[in-house]
Every structure is written in structure tokens, then in C-alpha cells.
Point group: C2
Chain length 807, copies 2
């Protein structure tokens, strides 16, 4: 199936004409910057309410065990303990709608990983709550535990889930969560056309988000019966839905407020046990209840990067064009579903978005194991295959003796095209990204020519700008914005979006200020509160700037004509000639003919009544019409290219990165400071993942559950980064903007492995690329990655995300 | 000028057809009731912020003095004192827009009453702040003080205000704040037609609001430079404007949040010094600053009921019809303008709204004195003349030997008519009110027939349902409501209205729930926050139910069709046959054919995007076209009649009220429990005013500035009250509703004086009707009320409230 060209750009927000922008594109301060600098920002754990109790959660010490009996009587008798909660009190399962409703707030039948919550205590202080946990007696019947993908696939393995919640799709023993097989075009034909056909295997180790802020949640049950939850969550709307379901309350009686997140990176995207637990304890005790996870608990409840084994087979012609690709991924999902089905599909979806791949087959499998559940982390599901594909491509290039730069440049996906797997691509700035980093890094002069021990690597990637499918019914807006104009000149912008540090509150303020011609500080941003703000699905999939940006533009453009009409009448200037900026409405041709924004609001309010509007954004439907087509489509895609130069000590295997050049097709940078901040953050996180981070377990117990042991780069480990913003003005994005918060992480990881090969001639096909692996490889002792046996195609295939008939 | 009949009812909200109401008219709980009962409600003084400072205010001990020097150095040096503020730091005057901009946050040139603020301290605790006041040295040059209306009018009196702020309209010495003279029709002709012409004089003593909650305000200057003020105010919008002006900040940088008021009664309607003082101190110190007035300070800063001397001359025919009325009022305004110009006009405006008065002349004068400024109190400006007019009418009735009931019934104003002073009257339920209280009290059997010492009194009245003119430019909406629908079935209602205990939050929730067919608890009421809510002018003039109610109906009815269309399509029922109630949309003819409200929201959101709307209310323009016509008009008027039976001990003069019957034309009771609560509260407050309350001064010092000394009725003093709701379904009101929070106070006061006459044959023409006055009257020692000399018409007359060209 050849790549089609889709020549007709479409989109709800056409790129603006040449009109100068007064706010967008400027390096402005974040709206919450000063509050964070002076310590005014209240994170969830900073909150305190009168009569507040503290919650601690008792967790399973066994990776897999039947819960025979939970005796809370001694704990309840402890002075200072106000309530103890067990799983039977919260029998309704929850999780990610609609398919992964497999968790209970507290385990009822079984503990499925070390750290699985079994009971909870609310007490007058943290110490008493902690002490009370010791007085809860749990009888366990220890079961065989499943620690690897291979164990999960073994025919005689103990099923982790039984009954209705999971049907073990594609599995004889129930431990396959989901198996998928999708083929686009005739692969055999493709391989036959190729000059070289090559197979490789890779392993990407799991790792975690490591946000500075631990998860924290405070629940308060009002005298009016309404439940309020403040939480460090990225997805207040999903938490709202989960809480209403589990607590059996009308959604209107539940309010979820996402506090400013001290980092999320995907790790606060699930509705969490502890959020529901404190809500139920607040109901039981009629007192506010707060829980803040310890750092160790965060390591256990993380929902981090899946460990993934991968196999890839590609056919390539001598000119470098790919004729076909067959890709298999095996995901170690941990104990629950979480967003795992999306993670699984994502491992297969975007291969085709980066490069022209005319025939493509994807087979993927996610299994349950007795480890903490994995879920989304920055670059959700695409980081692992990108590592594999870029390393694989480097090997292919070498085999056909082509420059790894040219091999990439030649096959960059066409703008405004549809991929083999039916994803609609719009603007593509990848060629420019590649050329710019190659030029700045002097890649052509250096590659293969640096002294031994020194190497340069290059990789590219693409990423989503928002998911095409929400976690539930897909006809509803993904983002809504409501505006309100005050006759004093203020503008209030209500939006469900959640600022997790990425600056979404700021972007909302910039867009509204730009559209209405006010100053940024005139915009009062009210976000992430399910009582006050229209739904925004959450801060994930790099969706917020595009979706809330477009919603804000729509809302503002519904108000603008009301103001401009009044100004035109008062100033006696044709409305087409009026512009708005910096609290003025003025004649473009005679800027001194102007009036105050606030005066126009007064005139318009006198004419039209109270001034408010709504805007919303629903992504375009994917052209894909196959099962699973809903995971992967995006309104548009970002592109990145990274080059980096490093040195490896062949004795110790220690890697020193000298410099990183990264170019990112951001569409349009709403604020270059924020865009570069996101790029640098992504680069640093990618470096951590490739050089040192790993979330690893021994008999189900986390080996390094502390910030001291879990190695992650600090400031001093970081090389200089040169960030290059490429603007392609995407017709789908607000002012042309695309994502920049996740994509730039992707190419960094393979670029390191590739540069290590350039430096020393050894291929490290599994992450992290640690000194011991390099030394082992140099000594010829590094074992090849093996992928599990599995009898493809899977015996069962069902649509992964069925539409709900209503929310 | 005869009373005209205006037969064409008009209005934005026609009375609903016979469709049954599911929420409106039901005795539901207030939405904030449980929070108040359990102590969850946070009043302003309950708030605390990290690093908060406490403010105390230094006040003048002199009624009138020039401020020569303020030395704060010793106070500043005191440990724990963070800042001291003096008047020169806040040079911009404020007050009630647009005419009374005569106050400074701290006095600069002069102290004009005992209690006038001169300096303020912010310190780490209240005790330190209090102690620091003693270390502020103020040099005063004491000036002649003016303590009575007569002293104010004396040619040689010291002018309290000089310079630009007041021009001393109608005065040679500058102490007349405002003089007004308005004549409608040929009075001499009217008096000539009369059978009896009678003149009387009356005095109504000043009194105060005595809310349970003292004024309190907390200011915090955010790291982003935005100022937030939480205050126990009835008018956050006016405070917002005043703060932006005095602090010289763009209004968008100021946020005012009115906390739930623990009673207001008009006493929290002004922007207050202390609100601006804490804001400035928060700017100076970069820390939150809170002030809570002491009870004594509340007595001094009250803005309470004006002491008013009145003279009235009426001509009446033997059949009881009035031929002409000439009414003069002399208001002791205290030291500042406040809402005094409105108070002045109100003393003359509503005489014609109650009874048919074909020819009417009103002359009024407000003077400055060196006492705390007077302003609005429940029944603003109409309580004093109503006392005079009803007592005067009782005397006239006696003189023409007609029953005081019949004399009133005969002359009740016609519905849908225009009065002599060009006020537009709509529904009038006064006849039914009079008949019902007369019947229930057996007035005809008892009046003049009870044993000596026992008496029955009857009086009637009318009151505004919202002012026709805002305090500034009158083309802007007076109330706005913004709605937001959540796909979970919740509805958020944003409105600037301020719940001061009267239940406005509840009424907003009832109206929205009724219109959209949800439960009251599904409506999240967000009010009184200038950043979150559209403007509502404030809780005064009994305007909130009518204005926000209409705005809410408009907003809801803009969303309703979107939902009904979806339901019609889904249910296959014609949209005209659909009704909404209790979270369902159903076929009126087959109520089991129904769908959930939330489902309709989901369908409508999928079709139309994020669902929100605005609604607003601007009162109809008054037909009056004379200077001053803007004070008095109302969208519609409420009516009340009161009968009460009492006993007076002729030895001691002690009055015991046995029972009160009160009927009130409420238009339509939105919630009978709340309506009756408002009526009972009004009756109790009226009884306090007529029997015991008086705000009196000796040499400028309040004689009884404590709740122990200031006599006000308690629970045990209260007689049984029988409240009767009369519904006239006014076309202007939401569902026909009119006011009920102030009007019922009015007839209680004259009814007591009239009943005392019925009991003992003595007329007490001045309030309060205390035992000593009764005994003096019985002994023939009670001196007649005299009114001041004044050379009518006043030399100057200017429009009292000019329209601003913009806000």
C-alpha cells in the first residue's frame, strides 16, 4: 500500500495572515512564574483544612498473593485513628475508560504487585496513621509470581486477572492483556523488492517519571454533601469520572481540582487508588483527609515506561528506500491495564509517520506481570520503538553504505500525506530539522571520522500533537474554553486544562490576550477545576496547546466582532481596518485613532448584555477504518532531529556527552522560552533514560526505590544543548503551533547508542546504555536481546477502544 | 397631574403559562444552610493566609479637627510593627460614584467625626497593632463641631467640607450636601379642593444595622502583582471600582471577593476605608493584611439610618381621597456623602407609590454634621417618611371620621399606572394585603373598641424591587449570569451577586434548576467574585432576586433549546411537548418517555461544542424626565400591610406587642420559607427601630456603642408574627417575583405608634416610641417636633446623578 499524498490542507484554524502578533511568539514570562519563585504556589501537599486527617495506605509485601483476611480491629482501637478502610467498602472497579476497569481502590481478592494497596487509615497525624498500618493484620496466601514477559506467556503461569475484568485476549493463560496484529500492504512483496532485508532485536528497559512532587490528594466532603478532591493529577476530568463511579455519586456532586503539578510526565495521568481512598475516608469520617505518598510509594505506583522487547525486520533498497517493515513489540505491563492498550498501539503506530514506509506490519502484545503497572511516560509508547527503529536504520545504512544522514533525509515522510497505516500527516519540518542539526554539529565532517573513543550520532523522530481518540466517546470536544469579559477590562478564561509545569496556563493567557488585544495580566486563568471549568481531557499526549489553544481562539473570536463593531462605530473606522493590541483597538492605518479595550467592552455590554462565550476543539476524525485505527492519529505531528557528540572511556565504559544539537518542528512557537524549556527538559529526560535510569525489580521488590539510588542526571551531568526551533505553521495548530513537550525526547536515546557505535564500534541494543554494557560489548560478552515466543497472529482480536454510546 | 393608567404590562420575562414548577415555590433548604449550621462557612474574619499581618486603625477622638501633624516614627519603631500608613499615601478620594467622591482611606486634612480614621498599622498580631496605635502622635487643631441639622444650617457654622469635593448645594455655609425641590401638579389647586388640610411634623431617630458579623477584610498582593481583597461587603463590584481608583491599578489587576456576609442590612454597601487600607498595607508590606473592626468601630462606621425631621401637609376630601400632598424632609447626613443623595430622594419618592396622590410636592435637604456618615439601611430612605405618612394618615382619617382601614383601601394605587412623580407601577397587591391583615386581626371589630391600654394599629407601605438607576452609567446590565454545562450533568452558575444571608445564592440555584430541569444540588453557585463572575451591582435595593433571577432565566433559556432539540430527536417527541424536571427531559403527555438531562447535555455538546451562555438584566427606563427622576423608579414595587395589637402600661409606658399580622405582595414566592424568613426578619428589625433602637451621640461620641448598651430586641422580646404571602405574578419579576426583604419592615413602625394612640390616645410622632415618651405624652410633657428653618426653594439645584459617559 503506497504512501498517499493528501494535498488539501484542512483544519479549523487556518494560519493567520501576515497580521503582526503582539503576544504570540514573544519570550514572555510564565503567568505563574513569580508565584513559583516566591513560594506562593500551593501544591496539593501544601493544602490544609480545619480538622484535616492524614491517610496512610497499607500495601502488599507480596508480588502475588490471595488476600485471605484483613483484620483492622487493632488499628481501629489505636488512639488517634479515626477510620480504617478496606477494599470491600469500595467494591466498584475503576481504571481507564472504557476497557481497563480493572483496579480497586483497595485490593479485595488478591494483591498483584508489591505495593498493591490493601487497607488505609485516617488518623489525626501522619505518625499515628503510619503506626496504625502495623496494627492491620492481613493474611495472605502467597501465589506463584510472574516477573517477566516470558513467565507471563508460559502456559502454566498463574493468571493474574481472572473473571470479567480481563479476558486475557490472545492468551491461553489469561496473562496476555492485549494482542494486536495489523498489516498494511503486502509485506512479502516488499521484502522481495528489497536489496537488503535485515532483522534486529532490541530491549528498552522500564523507567519512571521521577517528578519532584510526590502524588498528594486532599478530599473534603462538604456539609452540602458535595465531595471536593484536590489532587496532583494531570487529568482532573478522568479522576472526576472515576470518583463519581466508585463512590456511586452523581458527577455533579463531585468536584476535582487539579493543583499545580510539581511535574507529571505522564505519571499523574491515571485516576489513582489514593485519590478514591481519601474521598471515601472523608465520607466515612466527615473530616477532610489528605494523603501524600512517600517517595518509595511513588516508585511503586508510578505507571512509568513499559519495558519492551522488540523485533524489527525491514527491506531496503540500495538507494536507501524502505520497501517493507515488520515490527513486533512485547510490553511488560505490570499488574494492571492503566493506559496500556494505548501504550501497546503506540509502539506500532508512528513508525510510518517519520519515514516513508509503503508496506507495514505491526504485531504487539502486552502482558500482565506481578510488578507495578506501567502506563504513559513522556513520549508514551513511542520512545521504545524509536530507539529500535533508529538503531536498526543505522545498521541498514551501514549495510548499504549510505550516510545515516542521507538515508534519513531521503525517506522523510511527505507533508500532507496519508501513511500506510492510514494516519493523516500534515506539515513536516523533519528535513529542515535534520539539515540544521547536521550543519550545526558538522555531522558530515565528523561521522566515522572522529578519533576512537569519540563518536557522533544522529536520529530523528515524530510525535503526536494530541490524541485523536479520547479515552471515551469520541464525538465530544476534547477541550473547552469559556470566556467572560469584565467591564473593567479583565478577561476570565475558564478551561479544564492542567498546568503540570509545561506552561499551559500561560499559553491560554497568551492566546486570549493575543486574540482580544489585552495584556497577558488582564487574563485571569481559571483551570483544572471540574466545577468551574469546561472539560479539557487532561495534560497528556501533548494535546493542550493545540486543543485549548484552538478552543480559546474560537471563544475569543466569538466575542471580538461585538467589540470591533462598537469601536468601528465610535471611531468611525471600517471594522476591517481595526486591530487590537495592548489594551487598545486602533485603526491599522492611523494607529493614533484608537480607543481603550475596556471602553469597547462597556459599549458592547450595553448593547449585547453580559459578554461571555465558549469555544471548543474536537480533533478531526482519523481516515483509518480498521480496528485500532483510533490509537495513533493526531491532528498533526511534530518532528525532531538530534545530533550529539560524545566520548566513551573504553576502559570504564563511562560516556561523556559533549554537546547536543536538537531541532524541533514546533509548527509555531507560542513562546520561544517555553518551547526551548520543553525541548531542553525532554533532552535531559531522554539522556537520563539512555544513560542510567532503570526501574528494576528483584522478586517483585523495587531494587532502587529512592532518589538516592535511582540514578537520574542532575544539573552537573548535563551537556550543553543547542535547541533549534523550526516553524512550519501547521494549519491545525493555533497560529500554526504543534507539540514540543515530548517529541524532542525521542531521538536523544537512539542518538546516544548510535554515537557509542561511532566511537567504539559496538552496538548496544538495549537501554540504558550503561558502562557495564559497553565494557561487556567491547569484551564480546554482551548477550543479544531475545524476544519471546508467541504464536502470531493472536487467537483473538477485539476492538481495543469501543465507543461508548454516551459519556 | 392625575394618576395615569398604564394598561400595557411589559417586561422581559412574561409570567409563565400554567406549566407546573418543580423547584420554584417549594419550601426547599437554602443551598448554604448546612454549611452554616455545621460552621463550615468561612466569613471574612475566618480567613487566614501564611505570613498574614493584622491591621488596626487609629481614629480621631474629635468630632471636628484639623490634622496638623501625624508622627508615626515611634509606632514604626515598635517591635512587631511592619508598616504604618497615613492619609498622604492614599491621596485619591473615593466614595459612591459619581457624586460622592468625598472620602479618603485615611483622613488627610481634617477629622470630620469621632472615629474618622487617621492612620493605620500592620503588625504581626492584633495586640501589637493595637499597642502601636498609642504610639502614633496626632496633633489636632480642634474646630467648632456641628451636631444637629439646625447647627448645620446656621449661617456661621464651620464648613465640614471645603474645596472641590462638595459644593454645598443649596447652602450659604457649605454644610448642605444636597437640597431638592420637586413639584408635580398644582398643589394650591389641590389644597383648595380639599375638605380638610392638615400639617404634621415628625422625627425619625437614626439607628444602625447591628449585623452579627463585624466588618472584616483581608487583602493579599499576589506575586503576579494582582491584588485580592476578601471582604464582608454587600457590593464587591463597587469596592472593585473604588480600589482600582484609589490604588491607581488597572481594574483587571484587582480582585474583590465578597465573603458570605453575617448580616449586612445596607451597612456593608459602601466601599470602606478599611478595605482600601489593608490593600495598601498589603502592597507596602508584600504580606497579606487583615482587619476586623471592633464592635465599637462598627457603630462608628455604620452608614446607618438617617435621623430625619419631616413636615407633611395634605389635603383630603370627606370621602378620604387625597387632593394634594406637600412633604419636606431634613436629613442629618453625618460627615460624608455615602449614598446620602439616594437616601434624600428616597424620602420623597415613594409616597405616591402607595396611595393615589394626584398632586405632590417634595422638598428635601441633606446636611453634613460631625457624626458618622449615614447611608442605606433596610428600607433605605423610605422608612422615615412611611412612619410620618401613615401616622399623618391616621390623624386625617380620624379628622374625617373614616375607618383607617377604609381610608387606605380607597386610595390604594392603581395597578399598571404612572404616579404623579412619574414612577411606573405594575402589579399592586396592597388591597388584598390590607384586607387579609384586617380580617386575620379582626381589625374592624377591635379598632377603637379595645379596653384602655390595649390598642390595634394598621399601616401599609410599598417598596422598590431594585433601583432603576445604577450608581453609575445606566445602560449597562445591572446583573449578569454566565452558565456552564458539564457533560456529567452539573451546571455552574456564575453571578456577581452577594449572599448576605438573604438567600440569593439559593435563589440563583433554584432558578437555574427550575429552568434546566435539574436538581438544586446540581447547580454550582459561584458568586461575588469580580474575577470569576459577571457584574452584579450588589445586594441592595432588594434588587437581587428580580435582576439576577431574570438574568439567570435568560442565560438558561439560551441553552434549553440546544438540549430539547437533542432530546426531541432522540425521543422522537415534538419539542413543544417536552418538559424538563428533576434531571429528566420527558414527554409531557407520556412522562415515561424520557431521557436523562446529562445525556441531552452530551448530545448537545457533541453537536454544538462546549455549552455555556450568558444572560443579563437591565431595568426598564423610568418614564420620569425631570432632574432626580432616576432615584425612585423600580422595575416593580412590593406592597405590605401590617396590623398589630399591643398593650401599654400607662404607669411605665412599657409596650407589649401581642401579635403582628403582616401581608406582603411578594409577586411570587420563589421559596415561601425564605420569603417568610425575610418578612419576619423585617418585622423584627422594624419593631426594634420603633420600640428601642437609637444611634445617638453626645459631643460626637456615641452614647451606647456596644451590643450591651444599644438596645435591640432579642428572641424573647418577639411577639408571634403571622406572615401572609400575596402573589400578584408581576410581569417584570422572575416567575412573577418581587422583593420581600425590606418592604415588610416599613408598616410595622407606624403601626406601633398608631396602636399606642388606639390604646391610650396619645400621639408619639417621633421614633423610637419609648416608654419615657409615652409617659411624657400622657403627662402632656412631650414636646412637638419642630422642623428647621430653610428658605425654600433651594438656591441651587443640579442633577444629582449624572450619567457617566462610560464606566
Amino acid at each position: 500500500m503506497p504512501t498517499k499524498t493528501d494535498t488539501k490542507p484542512e483544519g479549523s484554524t487556518p494560519t493567520r495572515e501576515a497580521e503582526p502578533l503582539s503576544i504570540i511568539g514573544k519570550p514572555l514570562m510564565k503567568v505563574d512564574a513569580m508565584a513559583k519563585v516566591v513560594g506562593e504556589t500551593m501544591f496539593a501537599d501544601d493544602l490544609a483544612l480545619p480538622r484535616m486527617l492524614f491517610c496512610k495506605i497499607k500495601r502488599s509485601p507480596h508480588p502475588h498473593a490471595r488476600i485471605v483476611k484483613v483484620d483492622t480491629s487493632k488499628a481501629e482501637a489505636l488512639p488517634g485513628v479515626v477510620a480504617v478502610l478496606v477494599g470491600a467498602e469500595l467494591p466498584i472497579p475503576f481504571g481507564i475508560l472504557p476497557v481497563s476497569q480493572d483496579e480497586h481502590a483497595l485490593s479485595i481478592d488478591k494483591a498483584r504487585f508489591v505495593g498493591d494497596p490493601v487497607a488505609a487509615v485516617a488518623a489525626v497525624d501522619e505518625e499515628t496513621a503510619e503506626a496504625a498500618l502495623e496494627h492491620i493484620d492481613v493474611d495472605y496466601e502467597v501465589l506463584q509470581s510472574i516477573m517477566t514477559i516470558e513467565e507471563a506467556l508460559a502456559k502454566d503461569s498463574e493468571p493474574i486477572h481472572t473473571g470479567e475484568l480481563h479476558r486475557g485476549e490472545g492468551s491461553v493463560n489469561g496473562n496476555v492483556h492485549k494482542a494486536v496484529s495489523l498489516e498494511f500492504g503486502d509485506l512479502e512483496e516488499g521484502f522481495a523488492e528489497a536489496d537488503v532485508v535485515r532483522e534486529d532485536t532490541f530491549f528498552f528497559q522500564g523507567n519512571t517519571h521521577l517528578p519532584m512532587e510526590q502524588h498528594s490528594a486532599l478530599a473534603s466532603c462538604g456539609a452540602d454533601g458535595k465531595m471536593t478532591l484536590w489532587s496532583s493529577t494531570q487529568t482532573p476530568h478522568y479522576v472526576h469520572r472515576a470518583m463519581a463511579k466508585v463512590l456511586e455519586m452523581p458527577p455533579s456532586m463531585v468536584r476535582v481540582i487539579a493543583c499545580p503539578n510539581g511535574g507529571g510526565f505522564g505519571g499523574k495521568s491515571d485516576p489513582f487508588n489514593h485519590e478514591i481512598v481519601v474521598a471515601k475516608l472523608a465520607q466515612k469520617t466527615r473530616r477532610p483527609v489528605k494523603v501524600t505518598l512517600t517517595r518509595e510509594e511513588v516508585f511503586y505506583c508510578h505507571r512509568g515506561r513499559h519495558p519492551v522487547k522488540m523485533w524489527v525486520k525491514s527491506g531496503i533498497k540500495k538507494d536507501g528506500s524502505i520497501t517493507a517493515m515488520h515490527f513486533r513489540s512485547f510490553l511488560d505491563g505490570g499488574a494492571f491495564g492503566s493506559y496500556g492498550i494505548a501504550s501497546l498501539y503506540y509502539t506500532g503506530a508512528l513508525q510510518t509517520v517519520t519515514y516513508k514506509i509503503p508496506r507495514y506490519k505491526f504485531e504487539g502484545l502486552r502482558v500482565f506481570t506481578n510488578k507495578p503497572p506501567c502506563g504513559p511516560k513522556r513520549g508514551h509508547g513511542t520512545v521504545q520503538p524509536r530507539f529500535a527503529i533508529e538503531c536498526h536504520l543505522d545498521k541498514l545504512a551501514e549495510q548499504i553504505k549510505k550516510s545515516p544522514l542521507d538515508v534519513r533525509l531521503d525517506k522523510v515522510i511527505e507533508p500532507f500525506s496519508i501513511t500506510a497505516n492510514q494516519l493523516r500527516v500534515r506539515t513536516v519540518g523533519l528535513k529542515e530539522c535534520l539539515e540544521r542539526v547536521a550543519e550545526r554539529s558538522e555531522f558530515r565532517n565528523k561521522h566515522g571520522k572522529l578519533p576512537k573513543g569519540r563518536g557522533i550520532g544522529l536520529a530523528s523522530s515524530s510525535y503526536l500533537t494530541g490524541a485523536g481518540l479520547p479515552i471515551y466517546w469520541n464525538k465530544l470536544p476534547h477541550s473547552g474554553v469559556q470566556l467572560q469579559l469584565d467591564r473593567g477590562g479583565g478577561v476570565t478564561a475558564f478551561c479544564g486544562s492542567t498546568d503540570i509545569g509545561q506552561g499551559s496556563d500561560s499559553v491560554l493567557a497568551y492566546v486570549v490576550a493575543e486574540e482580544l488585544g489585552v495584556e497577558v495580566q488582564d487574563v485571569h486563568v481559571v483551570t483544572a477545576d471540574t466545577h468551574l471549568t469546561p472539560v479539557d481531557l487532561g495534560s497528556y499526549s501533548s494535546r493542550v496547546t493545540l486543543m485549548t489553544g484552538n478552543a480559546a481562539i474560537e471563544a475569543a473570536r466569538r466575542l471580538k466582532p461585538l467589540l470591533l463593531d462598537q469601536a468601528a462605530e465610535k471611531l468611525q473606522v471600517p471594522v476591517e481596518r481595526l486591530a487590537m493590541a495592548h489594551r487598545k483597538i486602533f485603526d491599522r492605518d492611523h494607529p493614533d485613532v484608537s480607543m481603550e479595550f475596556a471602553e469597547a467592552v462597556v459599549l458592547a455590554e450595553a448593547r449585547h448584555g453580559t459578554l461571555g462565550s465558549t469555544g471548543s476543539y474536537t480533533p478531526p476524525r482519523s481516515p483509518g477504518r480498521y480496528k485500532g485505527a483510533g490509537v495513533g492519529p493526531s491532528a498533526t505531528y511534530s518532528f525532531s532531529a538530534c545530533a550529539l557528540e560524545l566520548e566513551v572511556d573504553p576502559e570504564t565504559g563511562m560516556v561523556t556527552i559533549h554537546k547536543i544539537w536538537i531541532a524541533h518542528d514546533v509548527g509555531k512557537s507560542i513562546n520561544p522560552l517555553l518551547a526551548i524549556g520543553q525541548i531542553e527538559g525532554s533532552v535531559y529526560m531522554g539522556l537520563g533514560e539512555v544513560l542510567m535510569e532503570e526501574q528494576v525489580f528483584r522478586k517483585g521488590v523495587h531494587k532502587i526505590p529512592s532518589m538516592l539510588d535511582y540514578k537520574s542526571p542532575t544539573f552537573v551531568d548535563m551537556p550543553p544543548v543547542e535547541s533549534i526551533l523550526i516553524e512550519t505553521l501547521d494549519p491545525q495548530g493555533p497560529y500554526g503551533a504543534k507539540e514540543c513537550g515530548q517529541g524532542p525526547l525521542l531521538p536523544v536515546i537512539p542518538a546516544v547508542a548510535i554515537a557509542v557505535y561511532d566511537a567504539l564500534g559496538v552496538r548496544i541494543d538495549e537501554s540504558p546504555v550503561t558502562p557495564d554494557k559497553i565494557v561487556s560489548a567491547l569484551e564480546g560478552r554482551l548477550r543479544a536481546v531475545t524476544v519471546p515466543e508467541y504464536d502470531w497472529p493472536p487467537p483473538v482480536d477485539v476492538p481495543p477502544m469501543r465507543e461508548e454510546s454516551s459519556s
